[in-house]
Structures are given as structure tokens and as C-alpha cells.
Amino acid sequence: MMPFIIKNLPILIVITPLMFSLIVAVLNNNRLAWTLSTFASFLTMIFTILLCFEVSYKSNISYYLGNWPPPLGIEYVIDRISIIPIMIVSVIGLIATLFAHNFFTLEIDEKLVSKTYSLWLLTIAGLIGLITTADAFNLFVFLEISSLSAVALVALGSKVDRKALVAGYNYLILGAVGATFYVIGVGLLYGVTGTLNMGDLAQKIPALGLNKSVIVAFTFMMLGIMVKAAVFPLHIWLPNAYAYAPSPVSVLLAATATKVSIYIIVRISYTIFGSSYEIYSFESLRYILLYLAILAMFAGTIMAIFEKDVKKLLAHSSVAQIGYIVLGISLATSPGIASSFIHLINHALIKAGLFMSIVAMGYYTLKRIDVKTIAGLGRQLPITFFSFVICALSLAGLPLTVGFISKLYLIKAAYMSEGIWLPFLILVSSALSLIYIWKLIEGLWYNEKSLKIEKIKELPEIYLPLLVITFLNVYFGIDAGLIIDNSFIASDALMSGIK
């Protein structure tokens, strides 16, 4: 049994949630659905951990689906790079699933709950699939799986707020546009190279030289994914989608979806086109990404400062944070990419924690919370408040939290390649982010209740996952070696591919 599992781990992590989602879809018992989903995500996480060990001494696992070798069949590749987002998705997935039960029963029609779980698992499966696959077209498939299920999940928020429908629709259209662009690019590439396997593509593209269609393909693919990753001017769908989705969905999407897309950006630009780095004058793309990232940092932060709805505020902040990650990528140096991996992980932890604590507050008060209604809640909900504060400080990049570590390395990388002005901009924007964070903390702490609420008892099934995330935020802020080392290994691996 064990050898079989280990041999098939790359597909197991995708297939497990996929299978369970089919099972869950037909169930009527909501609690059972939740248990099964938890079990599925737990299993996924176990597999991921096993995979980690596997990767740590094999460094590169290639898995041929149905034993069809690459050019024809679909190849799954797990290496030191992709294991990072897989880890994020499975860990956050498990925690979010644990966390989800109360919310789904509250926020979604009873009949639809098990279907929701099905979509939920499907999203997870799609996201993991996106990471593992080494086939450009298969990637498109997973892209569609994950975004369609995510869109449906977002739209399910309509019981609470009708705007969720519009948000979902918006997400759908833009997601479809993105996916279409991507697939156009893939099609062009296929036409030129005759292969869809990423490894093959990477080998064949340099030979093509300054081929117009390769350039166009690259542009289309990048743009398609950039929409998915909500890189700055293409982020319009994100705030509403995050804000109006059912609470656990916000947590899951905020923590994982965009991260995976960013990972794909890295893959496309460094693995597929990386070896033809100079030909395609990555420099100019690099600068476009750089400026977009800076714009994102400031625009996201400023929008967050003026935003009143807390969930939307966090979503805007995500835009800014994505800016940081993209910034790291755009530096195109090993430390830069490492720093963006570090932030990828850390931001997942931070945002998961923040969204979880905010939606928990919404749960207890049965209300959408905004900057005004938040007042005094912190005293009613000490544990949630504590977690929120820790995660918020982490977002601002305060020491002893993961946010600090990522900022440290990001700034170091930025300084090393661009000089002092870039770190300065980064830091100014992160100082600005303090404003909205502080607005929330202060509002939560001060004792001017605007909501008339009875005494609230905090529920362990909500605060335990939250505390886990909070703990991770602090733990990896101190014992950051694990994340840092792995990120550097990953980035070195990527850069070595380029040279």
C-alpha cells in the first residue's frame, strides 16, 4: 500500500479532493459533508507532507499520468519550487475547511451546503492541480476548474447579500477573459513548437529566436494569468469577489487563489520562457511588472485606507500585498524571487488569519462589519481580537511576525538590485498600511459600542483554527529558517534554469 501511495503521491493530492467532491455532492447530511471534506483536506495535507519528504531528497519528481510519457501524455512535476504553493494550499485548505462549518450552515441555504462543500473541494483540487501540472493545456483545464468553482462559491454569498451575484458574475467574466487569453497563448505556442509540455517548451523556444508568435503567445499567457493573479490594474474583480463571498470562501480565496496564480506567473516567465530570457528582453517586462507592483502597493493601500467595509478593506490590502510579491518577482534576481516566495507563504498565513478573525466577528454579530460597527468588539471577543491584532501587525511587517521576515528579505533584495529608492517606496507604502490597520485595531479596542449585542461566547471550533493560524504567524516569524531556506532553494533552482 505505502509504496503505491508514495509512487502516486503527485496525483493523489489532486485526485483526493476531486473524488471527495463528487462524493460530497450527493450527500444530504451537511455535517457529514463537512466531516468528509475535512477528511479529504486532511488526507491531502498528509499526502503533501509525504510529498515534501519525498521532494526533499529527490528534489524533482516527475509523474506521468496514466504512464504516458511527456510529449503525448500529461506530466505532473513536483519540485522544490512547486512544493511551496502546494503546501500553502493544503494547509490553508485544511484549516479553512475546519473553520468553514459554522459559517456555511449560517450563510448558505441548507439544501446547498453539501454542494458548497463539493465546490469547495473542487476549488482546492483545481488549485493544487494548477501547481502540479507540467502541461500547459492541462493547466488551462485546472484553471477553469478552480475559477468556475470559485465563481460559484462567490455567488453563493447571495443569501447574505445580493451583490454577491454581481461580484460572482464579474469574476466569471474576467476569469473567462483571462483564461481565454491564456489559452490563446498556449495555442500559439503549440502552433510554433508542437508541444504542450512545459519542459519541452522550455527546450524548444530558445531555438525559435525572435519569433513574433512566441512573443505574442508569451504576452497572452502572462496577461491571462495576471488577471487571475489580480496584478494591479487587472484586479477589479478581486475586492468585490472577496468581500461578498461566503466567509470561508473569502478565507480560502484570499489565502490561496491569487498565490497560485502568481506561482504560475513565475513558472511561465522563468521555466517556460526563462531559458530565452534575453531574447524576449525580459528586462522590459521586468520593469513593467516593477512599476505595476509599485502602483499596486500604493493604490491598494490607499484604497484600503478609504474603504469602510472591513472585508473589502482586507481585499484592497491583498491587492497591495500582491504588489509586494510581484515586485519580488520583477527584480529577477535570486534573492528577489526568494523574497517573493517568502511573502507568498507569509501573506497566505496573514490574510487567512485576518479574514478568519474578521468573518468570525461577523459571525458572532450576525452582521457585515464595517469600520463603524466594529467599535468595541475587541473587548467582547478577546481571543478573536488577539488573533486579529497579531495578524494585522504581521501584515504591517512588525518584528516577531512572518510579515517582518518577508519585508526584511524583500527590502534587502530590492536594495541590492535597485538601490535605496525602491525599499523606500516599499516602506512608505507599508507605513501607510499601518493607517488602515490601526484604524481597525483602534476601533476594535475602544469602548464605544455601536452594536447592541448580548454577551458573546466565543466558539472553540471557530477560534481554534484561528489560533493555529495566529500561532503560525508568530512561529514562522521567529523560526523563519524553514521558509527562508526553502524559498532560497526554490529561487536558486529557478534561476539556475535561466542560466
Binding site: N170, V177, I215, V216, M222, L223, P233, S284, I302, F306
Partner: protein, 564 residues
């Protein structure tokens, strides 16, 4: 052990026990402290105590022929002041008096600049309470001006000392020159305390504001400490002669028109300091002797005059010439003592002023400084005018004021009598007096021509006053404030600064209003774009946004493709 501490140290430390003593015990205790302290005077010359802190030798107790006469007279002054003040039950003032005197005495025994600085500051911070003890709003304000000026002097001293230490490797208190920066700074520090012209405002400003006891104490120590310091470090510095001459000269006129009799005395004090400064500037042995002798005598007779005015203030409640007069009938002893003080200060033969001032005049003569000599002679006539005649005359004679006070309290009378007796004794037995002076100099003040010239000068000056008064030419005393050099920091600087500050405020207001406007515009702009969304109506917005977005993507694609 106790002997090796400088005299005065015990007074300074012992002062802090005073609040815990009963009222009666305090005066006895204070006198006891003075006596205890005076024992240390018999230690003999030399360095008795140095303390090494942080690789620096503080010469705490060093006495020599120059410090001894000052130490003696400071002890006497402290003694008299304590007796004079013993009618009062005020522990704060008691502490201030005794610790101030102690600090001043200890300062005389400092062997290096930093020890001097230590006590220099101590005299400032203890004496300010004497002024605060005046217990009026005026006194309160004056005290603040006083302490700032005094600390200013201290800062000059410290700065100078630090520079001196750095450039010389030691900070011994010895002969210095004003040609280098450190010397100049120290010179200024001394100059402030010695009330040089234009640095003198604090003296006339603050002394008259203290209580009747406080002024007596104040008049004794601070300025004479400065004279001592000048004599020690700047003897023979030429510029001092001219500074001193100016000091004798100017205050005369102010004293003539001043109404507050204690302020008149303060001007007179300044004028007397001028004599000493001139003597220090000459710097010969005779001149230094003259300076020391004059300081010695001056402390006693000026104390006596301040005491008599203090007694008047205590009994009548005012010291203004315009409100006093005819008190001789009611306070005869005070009046007599006052007259003795006045005669002494005017330097009539057989009184202390004469034997002291003669030394200075003679030394001027030996050096051939004729111009300065006549300036000082002129000043002597002036001294007679404002201190010798004006003080007793306006207080005790002149026209009836209507006040009918009692005679001064017994303790005051005792103090004044002691002072008067000392004045006369010094005047009669100059040779004994001359023995305590730093240098042994053969000098005989009482010869025919000396006495005659002095008597002629003084009587004719007095006669002039009589004529003026008799023919009603002498103008009446008026309630007034006479501007002095303190005007600069009491009126001019504040006015200038407040004008500047007002200007800045207006500027700042305008600036901040504009900034605020600008900031609001920017804020509104962002707000409009993001929330009010003037560009895209929000409610119907999703579709249009998408269109825009897709349009944006296409533009991007075009850009990307055309990038090379």
C-alpha cells in the same frame, strides 16, 4: 578631618538641618555653625584637601594670603546677618542665608576652576531664595531674572574652565590672561558677578526686591566673591582699570535720581565695586591690598547701610525716599548707625572707608594714572552725595512723612551696632587692619595733607548739597523706575522676540491653512475617484468596469507586443 574641609562647607551642609530645628534653636545653631566654620580659618596657608574624582584633582581647600581676609570678612558678615535676621521665623530664608554664606566662603578656598564653579553655582542657587523671600510678585520675577543671569555667569565659567583644562592640561585657579578664549570666558563670568558696566542690571534689579534680611546677605557675598576671583586671576589686567573707572562713574548719576533707597544703595554698591576693580586692574601689591581692604571695609559699612534701610523697611514698610522722612525721632539708634555707615562709605577720616580708599588712591598716584585718579576723586564726591547724604537725609530727616514707627527690634540694633563699632575701629586702628591684608605694606593714611584734602573735598561736597537743598534747587524725589542695563533683557529682547514669534505665527497660520486646503483637495480627489466614482457610476458600474478592464487588457497586450 573636619578641618581639612574648607571653611563654609560645614555651614553649607549644616543648613539642611534647619527645617528640623525649633524656631529658637535655629539662630543659635546658625551662629554656632559660623563659629565652627571660622575655626577652619586657623588652618594656615596651603592646600589642605584635594579630592580625585574621575582622574581630575579637585582642590577643595586651598587658602592663602588673598583668601584669608575675604574669608574673615565673610564670616563676620554672616555672623552679623544672622543676628540681624533672627527676629524672623522663616526656615527657608535661614537655610538660604547660611548656605549662601557657606557657599561663598567655600568658594574662596577653591584651588581650581571646577571647584570654584561648583561653589559659584551654589551661591547662585542659594541666594535666589533670598530674593524669592521678598514674597512679592516683583521679587518672584526678579528672582528669575537673577538666577538666569547668575547661571549664565556660571556657564561662562564652566565653558572657560573646560577650555582652559583642555588647552593647559590643568584647571588651577591662578593668573590668567584675557587674550585666549578660555580666559576671556572666565573673565566674563567674573565680570557678570562683579556687575561690570552693562552687565550690572541684575544687581540693581534684584537686590532691592529681597526681604530686609535677604538684601543684607546678598550685598555681602556675591559681588565680593567676584572681586576676589578677579584679584586672583586677573590682577594687573589693564582693561580692568577702565572698566572699574566706568563702574565708579556711571552709577553715581543713577543713584542721584533713584527713589528707592535700597536701590540707591545698590547703585552705590556698584560704584564701590568700581574702586575695587580699578585696584585689581592696577595689580601692584599696594593696589591689591587696597582692593582687599576696600572689599573688607565695604562689606561691613554697606551691610550696615542695608541693615539700617532694612530696619526702616521692616518698621515702615517702604524704602522710597518720596515716602520717608523725619524718622530720626522714632528710630534714633537706627539713624545713628545709618549715619555712621554713611560717613564710613564717604571715607571721612577715622572711619573705615578712609583707610581703605586711601590705599587705592595712593596706588593710582604711584602708577601715575591721573585721569583715572580724578575720575575716582569725582566719584568719591558722588559717593558722599548719594550714600553719605541722601540715604540718612531722606530717611531720617528731610520733611516729615507722617510715619511714626517704633525703634528697630533689639536683634537688628545689636547687629547694626556691631557693624558701626567695626567701622569705627577699623578707621581708628588702621595698622591692625592692614596686617590681615595680603601683602605687608608700610602705609600711613593719616597724614596732614591726606586728611585735609579728604575733609575739604567731602565738606565742600556736602556744602554744595546744603546749598542746593536750602535754595530749593534740589528736585523732589519722585516715584519712578530708572532704566538700567536690565532694560535690554526685560524690555527690548522680549519685544523683539515676541514680534518675531507673532510674525512666524501669522506665517504659519497662512501656511497651514493653505496646506490644509491643498491636502483636502487631494483627499477629495482620491475620494471622488474611488468612492463617489464620478467617472463610473457605481451602482450600474460592474459592466462598464468590465468593459474598461478588458479594454485595458487589450491595450496592455498591444504595449507588450510592441515592446522590444
Amino acid at each position: 578631618m573636619i578641618n581639612s574641609f574648607p571653611p563654609g562647607f560645614i555651614m553649607f551642609i549644616g543648613a539642611f538641618l534647619i527645617p528640623f530645628l525649633p524656631k529658637l534653636g535655629r539662630q543659635v545653631y546658625m551662629i554656632f555653625l559660623v563659629l565652627l566654620s571660622s575655626f577652619s580659618l586657623f588652618n594656615g596657608f596651603g592646600t589642605h584637601l584635594t579630592i580625585n574624582v574621575l582622574d581630575y584633582n579637585f582642590i577643595i581647600n586651598h587658602s592663602d594670603n588673598l583668601s584669608l581676609p575675604f574669608a574673615i570678612v565673610f564670616h563676620i558678615a554672616a555672623f552679623i546677618t544672622i543676628i540681624f535676621g533672627s527676629h524672623k521665623d522663616d526656615w527657608k530664608e535661614n537655610i538660604a542665608v547660611i548656605s549662601y554664606a557657606g557657599a561663598a566662603i567655600a568658594a574662596l578656598h577653591a584651588g581650581d576652576l571646577f571647584t570654584l564653579f561648583l561653589w559659584w553655582e551654589a551661591t547662585a542657587f542659594t541666594s535666589v531664595f533670598l530674593i524669592l523671600g521678598g514674597n512679592t510678585t516683583r521679587a518672584y520675577r526678579a528672582a528669575f531674572r537673577y538666577i538666569v543671569i547668575q547661571v549664565c555667569s556660571g556657564m561662562f565659567l564652566l565653558a572657560g574652565a573646560v577650555l582652559f583644562l583642555y588647552s593647559n592640561g590643568n584647571a588651577l585657579l591662578g593668573q590668567m590672561s584675557i587674550d585666549d578664549t578660555s580666559g576671556l570666558l572666565i573673565f566674563l563670568a567674573f565680570g557678570i558677578k562683579a556687575a561690570f558696566p552693562f552687565l550690572n542690571g541684575w544687581l540693581q534689579d534684584t537686590y532691592p526686591e529681597a526681604s530686609e534680611v535677604g538684601t543684607v546677605a546678598l550685598s555681602s557675598f556675591t559681588t565680593k566673591l567676584a572681586i576676589y576671583a578677579l584679584a586672583r586671576s586677573f590682577a594687573g589686567t589693564d582693561i580692568l582699570i577702565y572698566i572699574g573707572a566706568l563702574m565708579t562713574f556711571f552709577p553715581i548719576f543713577f543713584a542721584v535720581i533713584e527713589n528707592d533707597l535700597r536701590r540707591v544703595l545698590a547703585y552705590s554698591l556698584n560704584n564701590q565695586l568700581g574702586f575695587m576693580v580699578v585696584a585689581v586692574g592696577i595689580g601692584t601689591e599696594l593696589a591689591i591690598n587696597g582692593a582687599v581692604a576696600h572689599a573688607f571695609a565695604h562689606i561691613i559699612y554697606k551691610g550696615l547701610l542695608f541693615m539700617s534701610m532694612g530696619a526702616v523697611l521692616y518698621r515702615v514698610g517702604t524704602c522710597k525716599a518720596s515716602e520717608l522722612g523725619g524718622l530720626f525721632k522714632y528710630m534714633p539708634i537706627t539713624a545713628v548707625c545709618s549715619i555712621i555707615g554713611a560717613i564710613s562709605i564717604s571715607a571721612f577720616p577715622l572711619f573705615s572707608g578712609f583707610v581703605a580708599k586711601s590705599l587705592i588712591m595712593s596706588s593710582l598716584g604711584y602708577e601715575g594714572l591721573s585721569f583715572i585718579y580724578f575720575m575716582l576723586l569725582f566719584a568719591s564726591a558722588g559717593v558722599l552725595h548719594h550714600s553719605g547724604i541722601k540715604i540718612p537725609f531722606f530717611a531720617f530727616f528731610a520733611h516729615e512723612s507722617g510715619h511714626k514707627p517704633k525703634e528697630a527690634p533689639l536683634n537688628m540694633i545689636i547687629a547694626m551696632v556691631i557693624g558701626s563699632v567695626l567701622c569705627i575701629l577699623i578707621g581708628i586702628f588702621p595698622s591692625i587692619f592692614y596686617q590681615i591684608l595680603p601683602y605687608s605694606v608700610e602705609y600711613q593714611p593719616y597724614d596732614f595733607s591726606h586728611v585735609l584734602s579728604q575733609l575739604q573735598l567731602l565738606t565742600f561736597a556736602a556744602f554744595a548739597f546744603i546749598c542746593l537743598w536750602h535754595f530749593k534747587i534740589y528736585p523732589p524725589e519722585l516715584n519712578s523706575t530708572v532704566l538700567n542695563s536690565d532694560w535690554f533683557y526685560r524690555r527690548m529682547f522680549p519685544a523683539v522676540i515676541s514680534n518675531i514669534v507673532d510674525g512666524l505665527k501669522i506665517l504659519n497660520e497662512k501656511f497651514s491653512v493653505n496646506c490644509f486646503k491643498g491636502f483636502n483637495t487631494i483627499k477629495n480627489f482620491f475620494h471622488d475617484i474611488m468612492f463617489e466614482n464620478k467617472v463610473i457610476d457605481r451602482e450600474a458600474g460592474f459592466d462598464t468596469q468590465i468593459v474598461l478592464q478588458i479594454f485595458g487588457i487589450i491595450v496592455f497586450i498591444l504595449i507588450f507586443i510592441h515592446l522590444k
